[in-house]
Amino acid sequence: MEKILEVKDLHIHFNAFAGHVKAIRGVNFHLNKGETLAIVGESGSGKSVTTKAVTRILPENAVIDNGEIIYKGQDLLKMSEKEFTNIRGSEISLIFQDPLSALDPVMKIGKQIMETLILKQKMPKKDAEKRALELMKAVGIPNAEKRFHEYPFQFSGGMRQRIVIAIALACNPELLICDEPTTALDVTIQSQILELIKKIQKENNLSVIFITHDLGVVANMADRVYVMYAGKIVEEGTVEDIFYDPRHPYTWSLLASMPNLDTRGSDKLMVIPGTPPNMLYPPKGDAFAARNRYAMKIDFEREPPMFKVSDTHYAATWLLHPDAPKVEMPEHLKQRIKQQLEEAGRYNG
């Protein structure tokens, strides 16, 4: 299969007041054409930073220490800003997290959607207007003709978020990165947007990276899943691999703790004990060891490499080492994941 994007050994740190925040510590992943990836992981694990690196909108205090981001055979990190502007927004589109104040407060909504169409795609104004209206309808803005001439402050939060999604879709990108795009939306609109992305994906053979905390969304959208923890990928596999045969103890806890559409906001969720490590001083060994009931001596000393489980399934845990004691996923976690899957499956239809 053709790889549209490949991230190799990415290391990023932030210059912060207290020192270097090592946010990304060797991330590897790839995305095939037409495929949907889900990246899951606790808050602060580096998901957004990764997506910002791919679209090169990292804040100024970020430093890329190492790594390559190969898009269609070219290293995006080596491109000049000018070359990259032709890709960003046109070929690679990003819906970033919390886009609530991302719209220009003094420019009309319609104009903001048409902007890229006119400036980048050189579309005539009439066509751009038509396309912008179509997009607004597609993301479920009622009364689009009237809304077209309104300003962001006249829109509700969820509607603004949908406008941001419309803007990301405007130029028919080939790679769409969605960083928790639907978290602020209600369930109906959320599934409407997910359906829309799926539809566009089918029509244009779009490749999608989906970042979400929602198990239902993963089950519904993704082909493959990457599990991220403390700036690293700790497990990767197909949705089936990850859901039915997760190997990394972090994945176990994460799956058990992830909400889905039905449980969201309810108290049925489990909590992963402890807190993520302080990324100013990432621990030696496996970063999850301190929170892991199954941690062995080696876990505090050496970082586990990626062990192969199958051709599609890899996990970075010493438990997969041939000499490791056999540890099974605890029964109550199994139950929980099964229940979650059933709920997600029910949601699927």
Partner: protein, 317 residues
């Protein structure tokens, strides 16, 4: 909207009334004698009678207010005896206005360019130089700067005349004599605009809509022109509109130093010579300018900012 303006105008009228009343009483506290120290007692008495100064203060005030309400602002007493103060002010305005228009033509573009450059090149040598200039401008009083200009360029170098050329016709030499006063007048305004522009644009450049417009694929120039500048110009109305109103006002200090017979020097002279009614009229004139520009600022917000024009409230995200 109309109701709002009406409300504001009424409030303005009340404020103006308080201002002239206060100045009526305050001005008496300034030591000085309208007839001059060595004037003959008869002259003094005659003058006092003419300007009602022989009556009790309360009565004087009543007469004054009555006249004021019928648009009779009184006559000058010492500076231009018997000339109505209204005419005096009217005659002084054109010169002041002309100088200030020139100065504003310098202030606004230079201030904007410096502010934009500083914000775009934040924390570079360009920004530091501009910011240092702003600090210098803010901390050095206008009279020091004006005297300095005069000393260096008129006295030491002799490039410009000391005082303004008062020829009735506009000539090259008149223009040359205007350069130093114009520079002196522009000095503070440039610093103010630069400071505001830099702060506003910097904030705009770091806003989320800039991140989105970058993610959309607009180039830095495009997103700066289309989004950041537009947004940062809105609060700038606050600074620039009062400057336009200030055109009429003139500067007491600068006009005195360069011998410009405009409104500014009139103010100083009228206070010095205890020209009560003239002083009050000038203060009144300044107050009107100040209050009107405040009103205009608020109204202009409503025009340039859609959040207020359509939303009707101050929405700030």
């Amino acid at each position: 909207m109309l109701k709002y303006i009406l409300k504001r105008v009424v409030a303005m009228a009340i404020t103006l009334f308080i201002i002239i009343s206060l100045s009526f009483f305050a001005i008496r506290l300034i030591p000085g004698d309208i007839a001059g120290e060595n004037a003959a007692p008869e002259i003094k008495a005659a003058m006092e009678a003419r300007y009602h100064l022989d009556k009790p203060l309360g009565e004087q005030y009543a007469i004054f207010i009555k006249n004021f309400l019928s648009f009779d602002f009184g006559e000058s007493m010492t500076l231009y005896p018997r000339r109505p103060v209204f005419t005096i002010i009217k005659d002084k305005i054109p010169l002041t206005l002309m100088l200030n228009v020139f100065s504003l033509c310098l202030t606004v573009p230079v201030g904007l360019i410096c502010g934009i450059a500083a914000a775009l090149k934040k924390n570079t040598i360009i920004d530091h130089t501009i910011s240092a200039m702003v600090v210098f401008n803010v901390s050095v009083p206008a009279f020091v700067f004006a005297s300095l200009l005069q000393y260096v360029f008129a006295y030491r170098l002799g490039w410009f005349p000391f005082l303004l050329n008062l020829d009735a016709t506009f000539s090259f030499s008149k223009f040359v004599s205007m350069i130093l006063p114009i520079l002196a007048l522009s000095f503070g305004g440039i610093a103010t605009i630069t400071r505001y522009m830099r702060a506003e644009l910097f904030e705009a450049l770091n806003s989320e809509y800039m991140l989105l417009s970058k993610a959309k694929g607009l180039s830095k120039v495009q997103s700066t022109l289309r989004h950041a500048l537009r947004n940062s110009f809105i609060p700038l109305c606050n600074v620039i509109i009062p400057m336009f109103m200030g055109l009429l006002g003139g500067s007491m200090v600068v006009e005195n130093i360069f011998g410009i017979p405009g409104i500014g020097s009139l103010t100083a002279a009228s206070i010095q010579t205890s020209d009560y009614y003239l002083t009050i009229a000038v203060l009144f004139f300044y107050s009107i300018i100040g209050l009107t520009s405040m009103l205009l600022v608020d109204l202009s917000y409503g025009i340039v900012d859609p959040r207020i024009r359509i939303g009707g409230g101050k929405v700030r995200e």
